[in-house]
Amino acid sequence: MHISDGVLSSSVIIVGFVITLVLLMITLRCSMKQSDVKEQIPKLSVMAGAFFVASLIHIPVPPTSVHLILNGLMGVVLGVLSYPAIFIGLTLQAVLFQHGGFTTIGINTMNMGIPALLAYGIFKIGYQKGIPLVLIGAISGGLAVFISVIFLAMSLITTGEEFIDIARLIAITHVPIVIIEAIVTGSVVAFLAKVKPELLPIDMER
């Protein structure tokens, strides 16, 4: 899912960093208006940690195995703060495990963070429309990964036309991940709604 060093062209990498820096500033400033960000730090760090650990869970899908991404879940639980949380999670993955690259932190955060923000929007709209939580959770989770894959393919293709076939291949191999991610996110959302609804952006009055 995350691109490692040495694959993308310099312009794609620089654009990734610029967009990520801008979005980091916007999302942090945005959440500072709502409440004191310092109080959000534990929640944010835990989710970034969950994101990190979840990516270590390998689910056997013959002939290989895939791992969870959970960016949709991050979006649903953290809202706008999911972007900085994904940034932190990916930085630590690159730094501690060498999953993903050091120079690609910008573009990888963008590829996973923007879909997380979209998942948040979708979840809120779906919730207001009265769609069951499991279903809307599954939709946000699956869609977030789906959009991430499209972003990933796009960042490869903008690097060079030579990458079109490999981008297509990567997109196809991610189809099972979209399905798995939808099921898992739906089930996590249903679980949280039962056990700790204040972690979800829903009114508890209803």
Binding site: G6, V7, I41, K43, G49, V53
Partner: protein, 253 residues
């Protein structure tokens, strides 16, 4: 699953271990970016060789390094295998009617070389100092305090989370649960992830409150004192000039 201990060998003694953390972060970052942006095969080979020398100087165990490189190779090797057949360009040879191109092969090799050198440089940079030193160095390099705090909290929670997750996982395993790609197993996995989040969220909140009550302000405090001496400037200058050298020589020649 194993602990992501990047700083397991931070207590070794080598010139790179003694290099000032701030200077190390800056010069290695510049080096990594230049290594990644190389477009010539011969320079990429030289860079790989150079990164290898730095690893050698740093005295990091080869097993540790190889273990880390493995992950990156898993990602980039498919590029080397697939690119020669899919990229357009002049024909190198034809196997069973499938055309292999020279350009594709060069690009595939470039990707593997750049990725391997970059990961070796990242390892030499980060595995030679304790992670809290790295964070303090970042703080002193004026990275915003909020990001530093999040980085530090998350880093600590990763270990808590791993333990907590493995405990639950063992409990489920001992009751006969097997992770498969089916509806039931995946929704169970969802419950475990949800439980993990709830448990850790509550713990994080508790810890944060107690830290605040003990006067935590968000500024990292470690006992390590940084001291830039002439030697640090010299090493930094050397590393950066090695990074830029190929580019300068290209412009001059």
């Amino acid at each position: 699953m194993e602990y992501p201990e990047i700083d397991r060998y931070a207590s070794l003694k080598s010139p790179i271990h003694q290099f000032d953390p701030r200077a190390k972060i800056i010069s290695f970052s510049i080096l990594i970016f230049f290594v990644v942006f190389v477009n010539e095969l011969d320079i990429a080979v030289i860079n790989l060789f150079f990164s290898f020398i730095l690893i050698f100087i740093s005295k990091l165990p080869i097993k540790f390094v190889l273990n880390r490189i493995k992950w990156v190779l898993l990602f980039v090797l498919p590029f080397l295998i697939i690119m020669p057949f899919t990229a357009g360009g002049s024909e190198l040879m034809t196997i069973d009617g499938i055309k292999m191109t020279y350009e594709g092969l060069v690009l595939g090799m470039l990707i593997v070389l750049r990725a391997t050198s970059a990961v070796m440089l990242i390892l030499t940079m980060l595995a030679t100092m304790r992670f809290d030193t790295t964070i303090k160095a970042l703080y002193m390099l004026n990275v915003p305090g909020l990001l530093i705090q999040m980085l530090m909290f998350t880093y600590r929670y990763i270990f808590v989370f791993l333990d907590e997750f493995l405990r639950m996982w063992r409990a489920m395993g001992s009751k006969g649960f097997k992770l498969k790609a089916n509806m039931y197993a995946l929704s169970m996995l969802g419950n475990v992830v949800g439980m993990l989040i709830v448990k850790s969220y509550e713990r994080a909140d508790r810890v944060y409150q107690s830290m605040i009550s003990k006067g935590y302000t968000g500024n990292p405090k470690t006992m390590v004192k940084f001291n830039m001496v002439a030697k640090d400037y010299a090493i930094a200058f050397l590393l950066i000039s090695i990074a830029i050298l190929p580019y300068i020589s290209k412009v001059v020649l």
